[in-house]
Symmetry: C2
Subunit: 355 residues, 2 copies
DNA sequence: TTGAAAGCGCTACCAG
DNA sequence: CTGGTAGCGCTTTCAA
């Protein structure tokens, strides 16, 4: 094998300077077609595949990949249906320009800053991160375009999200209109710690996941507006998986008197709630109503089909991707755009008046 | 803002050399705790987040991300359930070591080599690529560890796959045992071009997607073994989506006499076949039997539940991830490992004896 | 149209 | 324990 093949190798072989070989790749117009052909031929012969991208990036500052930052372990990106759908949309959004996407996981306990900087992305999408997360601070300090999706708010960067508050209101109004008075809420994690269980007012006030804070706020507004005392509403906090959702729902269901409706703040959790009801022999929606949030594909095929707040997840991803592309060419001092996508209540078979 | 902050900036501020600041980050043991603290303090004050990863990589040759190469557009990675599950497993497999994963799309017409080299991954997983694909050649020329999943075979690198031939045999034996004699086959693309439609012997012989070649080979073996003439078996080739599967199945179903069974070579296609039967008013499995391959989650919940060849997709991903990690530390001259995972026929409700 | 020279920011080696 | 020196492979003025 011998030495590594570099620009210099080819330059020596052809008898020109390094710069000329570089031009052969980057500015074909600057040299004669004949010379360029000779250079390319020599490159092929030496097995030289073109300028080293790392070195090029060091010089130019750009490398052609965009990143997406999560607060969960890497496999979460492929396990959570909402996340997968978002990423599909995001990929479609950035597709015109880039074919490389780097997923950056920033789970608790990782070397977050190193990972982010090591990804060396030209632009990054912050996907649903808690406030005050080291990763967000790192990205914001990176001097690359950033688009924030869902959370956190107030970074002064481009933002794409949905109207979470409104979603909460819609669910609350729907349930109140059906006549429910005893309601339990199943929320995804409110902070980046690993606490689960019942949620008190203090915990709620200190919630750093904007999304759920707002959904709960909207719900509260609608419920109190309908004359239901917020103090009577029990909250359970769980990790966003079906299994944990089932556990949380079971806890809610064990209260006396039993709630007649469970508001899950994600569809994953709602699916778990459905399973918990089944396990407890409770009919949905006969004895317990269940609502979700997001409208993932599984919500439609659930038994019974889930009443849920639909958000345009794929579209949100595409918007985010396009926003990132826009930020990449834009003047750095342009005011960042904020996109808030609408939500919609989809009433299916999991809600009914209380018996 | 002024100048960019580099190692040198900090070195000047503290009054030490660049090398010492570098050591403060990379080899804390090599300098006094007191000096290191002073350096870190100065860095914090100047807003220096640590050594530039690109420059570091240029020097060290490693950057801490692993790549996965596909032959489809980027959003495919998140649209195909099998691919998503594979990636979930892969992520789990590499998780102990890396938190960054770069997805490299090499769809037809893209600047494949540039994209791959630009990803600058420390190791790459080639995921189900056709033989003779420019991307594969590029990766193989990259001087980084490689693991090939599913396809292509014979690269001389680590390989993880399943027993595709055996899967084909299982389906063929099952259908023959049920008494089917008129069988149609719905295959995913056999080559990387965009041709779809009926597949003749010549096309089949030139199939460059090993996976489907083998599945068909196994099927053929079982069928001819049961006395069914291969010449009577019609094949339709489509892109691997539910919609295209439906179109292909419709074509198969329009033959006279109508086949009594459709063998789809992926679950996606099988789901499409189910839809086509429904649209044609054909009862499954009463009038037509349908089989799939892969056993994605939707196969279980399909109507009727799909008889299919289950492959351990998640496990395959995890194995691939672990193989990549192993290759990263291994001596370069160790013989590459080949892992072939078993498949299993799962009989559900979509197959029955012909009427 | 071509080439010489000057770095991009960093780390490895070796001498002090 | 510390620092000087020599590049990693490339692009980009600027001058010829």
């Amino acid at each position: 094998m011998g030495q590594r093949v570099t620009l210099q190798t080819i330059a020596d072989a052809v008898g020109v300077s390094r710069a000329t070989v570089s031009n052969a790749y980057n500015r074909p117009g600057r040299l004669s077609a004949e010379l360029r052909a000779r250079i390319l031929a020599a490159a092929a012969e030496h097995g030289y595949a073109g300028p080293d991208p790392v070195a090029r990036r060091l010089r130019t500052g750009r490398g052609g990949t965009v990143g997406v930052l999560f607060t969960e372990p890497l496999d979460y990106a492929f396990s959570d249906p909402g996340c997968v759908e978002f990423l599909a949309g995001f990929s479609a959004g950035v597709r015109p320009v880039t074919t490389n996407l780097v997923l950056i996981a920033a789970p608790p306990g990782a070397q977050v800053a190193d990972a982010i900087r090591g990804a060396a992305a030209d632009a990054v999408c912050v996907y649903s991160m808690p406030e005050h997360h080291e990763g967000v601070a790192t990205v914001l300090g990176l001097a690359v375009p950033v688009v924030v999706v869902d959370m956190p708010a107030g970074t002064g960067r481009a933002f794409v999200g949905i109207d979470d508050h409104r979603g909460g209101v819609l669910v609350g109004e729907h349930l109140a209109a059906l006549g429910h008075r005893r309601i339990g809420v199943l929320t995804s994690r409110l902070r980046a710690d690993d606490r689960v269980g019942a949620v008190g007012p203090d915990r709620l006030a200190r919630a750093s996941f904007r999304l759920f804070r707002e959904r709960i706020g909207g719900l509260r507004e609608a419920l109190t507006g309908a004359g239901i005392a917020w103090a009577d509403v029990a909250l359970q906090e769980r990790r966003n998986t079906t299994a944990e959702g089932a556990a949380g729902a079971a806890a809610l269901l064990s209260a006396q008197p039993r709630p007649t409706a469970i508001v899950a703040l994600t569809d994953q959790l709602a699916l778990g709630a459905l399973a918990a009801c089944r396990a407890a022999g409770l009919d949905v929606p006969g004895q317990v109503s269940v609502t979700g949030f997001d409208d993932i594909a599984a919500a439609r095929t659930a038994q019974p089909p889930l009443t849920t707040v639909a958000q345009p997840t794929y579209l949100k991803g595409r918007e985010a991707g396009q926003a990132l592309l826009a930020a990449l060419d834009a003047e750095p001092d342009l005011p960042p755009a904020t996109t808030v996508l609408p939500v919609e209540l989809v009433v299916r078979g999991s809600t009914a008046p209380p018996s």
